[in-house]
Amino acid sequence: MRALVALLVVGSVAFALLVGRAEPTPDLSRGVDGVAAWLHDLTDECASVKRDDDFTDFAGPVRSKVYAPFIAEWGTCAKQPYERLGLLILRPGLEQAWRTALANGEVRGDPDLAFGDGFALTGSIGMEYLGLKRLECTPTACSLMEIKHH
């Protein structure tokens, strides 16, 4: 029991130290390659980036209509459990576009992206360990929310 408690203390301290420190951010001057390099450094995955020309083929016309005007560059890479995890370099304005689409009844709920500063990933699993956040939106406002640990 003492050993378990000691392990818990060590684990909790390590956890607190880790989540209390900001993760390094991607080098966005390198675009998608910078995000991939950052992710690879963190996870040993996402070693190579696949670049698709057609974002609509990936996201479908509804979400593409909202997202695509605010994506400067994108690609995908493999990171478990995602065979194709989208790496998006963002331009300002996506939040407003989602709210407008929400108000118009074109989309429902929240954007399905995990957001960093100036970029986003398309996953939902494990994104919190990368220091990313999600947007909760109503037609009038969006809030960046911490992602609860999976």
Partner: protein
């Protein structure tokens, strides 16, 4: 940084161990038997593409991809609402049960041709739910009422008022939760609606499994297939490996196989052979195979086969023929043929080779070529961006040069070195 992530994992694991008492189960995913719409369309897409991409052939899956793109199939296990907190009927409107968010909305399409699973009324079966990440929670399985019409939007009132099956923290093995349940007394086409609410988070997962109830003997099939033979690996590249194994037997019939790396499913197959794709170069894998039958029974795992993928720097499954049909004072024309000798298509190919500083690219055809930092990178045009297995693409360029041109001595295709012909 990797050490930090590893340490974080340890810390989380410590916490998980301490709160994870009494065999508490963990989960994250979607129903794989009877298969959910996203899962079965994903499998349909894999089969239709021959690997490497998703090209569904089932008409409903095709329609869903046309509406929602391929991403919901790549992410077939992520049909979730982050802040549901048990408010399912409050936040999900009628008609949106199968795809409550925009990303998965296409899986609400009212069609009678979604991939379906044949099941037996009143039989005891093994329900299976894939698991990517650890969480405790409760699953509820509902079935649609008698007279339900799959071509009409699915409403909450279409579901029987109480779930025919409910389980909290079911056992986890081989990357899946699996538990026994007795199917309800139904006939014909129905939807089994699975709703999983995490108990450690407001996050909830949703899936629609299209099933066709047949009459049955009333005797449940609880006999699992025999364990498959040890897989034999061949054709190992930096990202793929072909596995073959001795087929399993079953009292009713084997319906498929799941291939695992450790506890994660990396491929499925209807036959005793599969090519696993998307692997990482120079990495050790341990593959096992499990057979399943139509009642959801899973066999014991096969013995494992250890495979190390080829290094990205070694000769891969490509070769390059580089010729200069024309050379003149101050310039030359080069033609390049890139061949894929592997067993799967190479998507979005990029060929890289050294481009000396005295050379300057002046024109390219059948490819987009960029030159930077002494390297040329060629990418396919829209019509030849992929190289099929056994196929090749050819492109060319003109360049000026201040010296006698020499042919490149190495080429790298999507990170793997190519043989030179």
């Amino acid at each position: 940084m990797r050490k930090r992530i590893a340490l974080l994992t340890v810390a989380v694991a410590v916490g998980a161990v301490l709160v994870h008492t009494g065999g508490t189960a963990v989960a994250h995913g979607s129903m794989v038997w009877p298969g959910s719409r996203t899962y079965l369309c994903y499998e349909d897409g894999r089969a239709g593409s021959g690997g490497g991409d998703l090209q569904p052939t089932n008409p409903a899956c095709v329609a869903a991809v046309a509406q929602g793109g391929k991403q919901p199939l790549w992410d077939w296990f992520g049909n979730l609402i982050s802040n549901a907190a048990g408010r399912h009927r409050e936040i999900i409107s009628d008609g949106n049960l199968c795809g409550p968010t925009t990303k998965y909305a296409a899986y609400n399409l009212t069609r009678a041709d979604w991939p379906s699973t044949q099941v037996q009324a009143n039989s005891t079966v093994t329900l299976r739910y894939n698991a990517w990440a650890p969480h405790p929670g409760t699953w509820e399985q509902y079935v649609t009422k008698d007279g339900f019409d799959v071509t009409k939007p699915l409403k909450w009132s279409d579901l029987e008022s109480v779930p025919f099956d409910k389980v909290t923290n079911p056992p986890l093995a081989n990357g899946e939760y699996a538990w026994q349940a007795r199917l309800p007394n139904k006939s014909g086409r129905h939807i089994i609606y699975s709703l999983w609410q995490r108990s450690d988070s407001p996050e909830a997962f949703y899936s629609c499994s299209d099933v066709v109830f047949g009459g049955g003997t009333g005797t449940p099939d609880t006999t699992a297939p025999s364990a498959p033979g040890t897989p034999v690996a061949s054709g190992v590249t930096s990202s793929t490996v072909k596995l073959d194994w001795t087929a399993s037997t079953d009292n009713i019939g084997v319906t498929g196989y799941r291939v695992y790396n450790g506890s994660q499913v990396v491929a499925t197959s209807a036959t005793n052979s599969v090519t696993v794709t998307g692997l990482t170069a120079d990495t050790q894998y341990s593959f096992t195979v499990v057979a399943t039958d139509s009642a959801g029974n899973a066999s014991a795992s096969s013995s494992a086969v250890a495979v190390r993928t080829a290094s990205g720097g070694s000769i891969g499954s490509c070769s390059v023929a580089y010729t200069r049909p024309s050379t003149w004072n101050g310039g030359f024309t080069a033609n390049v043929t890139v061949s894929n000798s592997g067993t799967s298509a190479i998507s979005a190919w990029q060929l890289v080779w050294a481009f000396p500083s005295g050379q300057q690219l002046s024109q390219a055809w059948s490819s987009t070529i960029t030159v930077a930092s002494g390297q040329a990178t060629a990418k396919g045009a829209s019509y030849n961006a992929d190289i099929p297995a056994g196929g090749s693409v050819t492109f060319g360029f003109n360049a000026t040069t201040t010296s006698t041109p020499t042919d490149p001595t190495s080429f790298t295709l999507n990170g793997s070195a190519c043989a030179i012909r």
